[in-house]
């Protein structure tokens, strides 16, 4: 069981989001780039495709409900 955990980490199957704030920033940036390119508001899916991340990550990145521990982790890694 411990090995599965290591296997997952080593193989990067679990991509621990480095920083939710970083993703949130990239989402906003990509939105602006796409607005300029397409002349309209991009959809969540279009932003997700552009960034190569799932829709769900765009959604979670935009919400501020992050635990104190995760903020601590974000600031100190």
């Amino acid at each position: 069981v411990g090995e599965i955990r290591r296997f997952l980490r080593d193989d990067n199957l679990i991509k621990v989001s480095r920083s939710i704030k970083e993703t949130a920033y990239k989402v906003q940036q990509t939105r602006d780039v796409l607005v300029a390119k397409m002349g309209r508001e991009p959809t969540v899916n279009e932003i997700a495709v552009e960034l190569g991340i799932p829709n769900e990550e765009v959604v979670t990145a935009l919400d501020a409900s992050i635990s104190p521990a995760s903020i601590y982790e974000t600031l100190h890694q």
Binding site: R40, T43, I47, E56, V59, T60
Partner: protein
């Protein structure tokens, strides 16, 4: 059709939970970030009302959310079995609140951010707010059709 129902303790910290859950489902449709933001505000207002007005902040009560995704539409119902609204017409007036410390704009936000909106309520029985919105606003569509 895709549907989901959520039921959660009427605690203020669950407003964030409801927002995120609805946004996660709504993101299955072609909404923009600002569409999602508006839907989240509408949901926050309705859930907050259920918690503070419907249940007087009693954390033992349960708030229910029903979400349906049918074609381009998301339909959301926010249901409580709390104290209900005596005068719905009055409650819907902008800046009307039974609590002098509140702004009384919750229902106005819901109505302006969602396309279809209705409230049914009976005193002592509870309140049901129903709202829906279509993905792909006319503005965006016009541009992409050029």
């Amino acid at each position: 059709m895709n549907k989901a129902a959520l039921e959660f303790s009427s605690r203020p910290e669950n407003v964030a939970f409801a927002r995120v859950a609805v946004a996660a489902l709504a993101s299955q449709l072609d909404f923009t970030l600002s569409d999602l933001e508006e839907i989240k505000v509408a949901v926050s207002e309705a859930v907050t009302n259920a918690i503070i007005h419907g249940y007087d902040n009693n954390p033992e009560c349960m708030v229910r959310l029903e979400i349906k995704i049918v074609e381009e539409f998301i339909e959301i119902e926010i249901i409580d079995t709390g104290k209900g609204i005596k005068d719905i017409t009055k409650a819907l007036e902008p800046a009307y609140s039974t609590d002098p410390e509140r702004m009384g704009l919750g229902f106005s936000f819901m109505q302006s951010f969602m396309e279809n909106f209705s409230v049914s309520s009976s005193p002592g029985k509870g309140t049901r707010v129903k709202m829906s919105r279509r993905a792909g606003t006319p503005g965006r569509k016009a541009v992409s059709e050029q």
